[in-house]
Amino acid sequence: MTLSRRAVLGGAGALALASRVHAAPRHQYELRPVEVADGLWMVEGRREYFTRENGGAIVNVAFARTDVGAVVFDTGSTRRFGEALREAVTAAAPTGIAAVINTHHHPDHFFGNQVFADRPLRALGATRALAAEHGAGYADNLYGLLGDWMRGTDPVPPAETLEGGDFAIGGRAFRALPLAGHTEADLAILDLRTGTLIAGDLAFLDRAPTTPSADLPAWRASIDALEALGAGGVMPGHGPFDRTGAALAQTRAYLDWLERTLRDAAEQGLDFVEALRLPLPPEFAAMGAQPNEFERSVAHLFPSYEMAALPRVD
């Protein structure tokens, strides 16, 4: 494994050099960190699905300055994104990188990890297992969706387990909130210095929530728990920084609508394709990545509602 990874990285390095000569502008991320609270920066992703135009820069990542270096929250979809992120972090917080924390196991949140593999990579225990289990499959899928942006990307699951509760790095205190619903294990982080919530994909804003690993009742319970924190600012996993509470409220409203709509569709005898073609209310149609994300959610969620609507007759 070590040998093959070195070979992959060596090869990728040589190719990257060549691409600088011939096609430098084409596959470069321009990351613009914004300081959203004292010593806490956010890099906002585009409110889209993975495409060869956006290179998978569709996710929000963050980093917090501490006395012993920055703590990085999520690392993006590709090795190249990870490299651009490491440069951006080093420029904004020159004391180096103390640790990386992954909020969950979806590839846009941890595929930049290999660039930070010399630092501690931490996540919930279940997230570590899920990243190891699904990493290769996600990589196949993203190579297909992103093409050359993925060159040299090798999934590196987080190696250390982070437990729930308060912890401090370099004099900065955080609260780790082990939750679930968007996936089996979703970590939200409260930055205790500024009262800012890094919600991971438990919160979306103006970008349709994604449901490939979702458990809707668990997700709603997690949103309740996060709203109870009364955070001064919320960084959603996708969409703009939120100072008004809109991200958690909008995410809950969408999940409620999604569940009601698909359950009603199955109860009324609609087939899968008819459910795909249902109209979206304007407030949800206006979200980024629609109607594609709704169609993906029908694929994820409709079969179980269909089962519930069809009684056993044999």
């Binding site: 005898g269 394709v273 795909l276 993906r296 269909e306 069809l310 009684p311 007759v313 044999d314």
Partner: protein, 259 residues
Amino acid sequence: MLRVAALMLLAALPARALDAPRAPLDDPFRTGMLGYHQIAILGDPERIAFDPRVVVDAPAYAEDSLHVPVMIDASAIPGVRRIVAFVDYGPIPRILEFRPGAAEARLSFRFKIDQSTPIRAAVQTADGSWLLGGAKIDAAGGGCTTPAAAYASDDWEARLGAVRARVWPQTGRVRLRVDHPMDTGLADGIPVFIIQRLALSDAQGGELAALDLYEPVEEDPAFSFDFAQGVLTGPLTLAGRDNNGNAIAATIPVGGLTQ
């Protein structure tokens, strides 16, 4: 000796190649495969044409390669005798044949996709001619070579042939789902094991609609049928069998289930 035999065989064949049908079509998808399937699946009909009344609705991208939903609607065409669904690219192109009988010429189902491909519906009308429609589906693929999910559970044999179904009398919609692995034979060491036939009949035993199924139909397949007002007057009978001789049988009540 073998070579001589091969040459003799070649000489005996008609001049036409396997992908040169009697009625070549200007295929909007330009896959290079349609002519071949016209001959192999449809029997090289002389009268065949694309027709916008053959509507094939499917998602542009297959989120789940094992369950790709499709709705074929040819209800605007009078006198539909049968509908054949097939893909251009895939190890087993033919998916199913639907003989609507007393049902409307509209069917929803799901199938296993192996790679990006158009899915086609070929509709044969009463005079024997064929009308074509299709839709392109993008896919990461692999659906045909994955073992059935059933084998991850201990009770799949107990569930084999279990039928879930419901009739919506107000709209004439019938939905049904049969538990079955629908093994393609392409997953390592697992032979073909599929439902081959399903038919809906009325209480007097008269056949209302029938399906012939092939390997690409999804595991635990689900279907939607539509009937005009007045056709569904009493309980329906579902009968079928798989290629191992297992019978599928159920009675579907009409009305009285919705509350």
